[in-house]
Amino acid sequence: MLTIQTPEAVMFWFLAPLAVISAIGMLLVKKAVHSALLLAWVMITLAIFYIAQDALFLGIVQIVVYTGAVMMLFLFILMLVGVDASDSLTETIRGLRPIAITAALGFGGLLVSLIGRATLGREAAGLVDANSEGNVQALAKLLFSTYVWPFEVVSALLITAALGAMVLAHHQRSVPRATQREQAIARFRGASLGSAAGLPNPGVFARHNAVDVPALLPDGSAAPNSISATLKARGDMLESTQFELSEVDNTVTEEK
């Protein structure tokens, strides 16, 4: 016979609405990162529910696997694809949203009313007996006796998934990589011999040698090709002229 204590009821009525509101917010927010954070919160709530329901092992696994590994993987891919690639919330298929919401109301209403009407025919049992020797021990006993075959199949599934991800991530070159010899020939047969010996290093030596300052040519002008094209495009480039002798403060301060 299962009796639910008041603390669990308080926890439930506090966290369950929060979980549902966060899940709805997940659909409404524009940015994918915010969706991911709301989903992480829903998963933490579910972990608390698991622990409250005597599923200690699953609660910890939920936090470690879902909020830890899976959500970090999601955020990692989001960063890779571009955080500001925000979802356009305009519907592309006409009438999709009203239909989806109507169908969801119908489906949700059906589920809720079914759960409300269904009866198990007996009292809820609770897990006190099943967990008497510890939740993890009892789960391990089941996993390695009754469910040992599904367990092995799942391990095969994990290996297959890892292999599949490797195959998908494998990137075949369309053009063979240029050898050192080919690179040298291309340098000398290029548009000008000026770059044959390599490009000038950035920085005004003895004054400032940072990568964002163009080097000075013998005639005193700045050498634009001594700076990385990326820095130039970003506008993160300093003027060499500010490091000229006349500009620099030459007064020697005596160290005490």
Partner: protein, 99 residues
């Protein structure tokens, strides 16, 4: 309060996830909604395990988590591959077979 209340939460979360899969256009958000549906199913399994007084539901929920982890790995790899070739993570852009 009785443990059946957890089932209502789970039904609501599952429905919200289903709406998200249909309504959202960003493939990653669609994928997160699938995860939400899987989690809702897990909550059902754990609750029924408690109601029935056996741990079988928890073992099945454990298997669901493993399958979900596999699914995330392969699914995100597919999304990255599509993004690499089409520069977009929107599910509406991957409609080459239509024309």
């Amino acid at each position: 309060m009785n443990p059946y209340n957890y089932l209502y939460v789970s039904a609501l979360l599952f429905t919200i996830g289903a709406v998200g899969v249909v309504v959202r256009r960003n493939a990653i958000v669609v994928f997160m909604c699938v995860e939400l549906m899987l989690n809702a199913a897990n909550l059902t399994l754990v609750t029924f395990s408690r109601i029935n007084g056996t741990l079988d539901g928890q073992v099945v929920a454990f298997f669901t988590m493993v399958v979900a982890a596999c699914e995330v790995v392969v699914g995100l790899a597919i999304i990255v591959t599509i993004y690499r070739s089409r520069r977009s993570a929107s599910v509406d852009d991957a409609s080459l077979l239509k024309r």
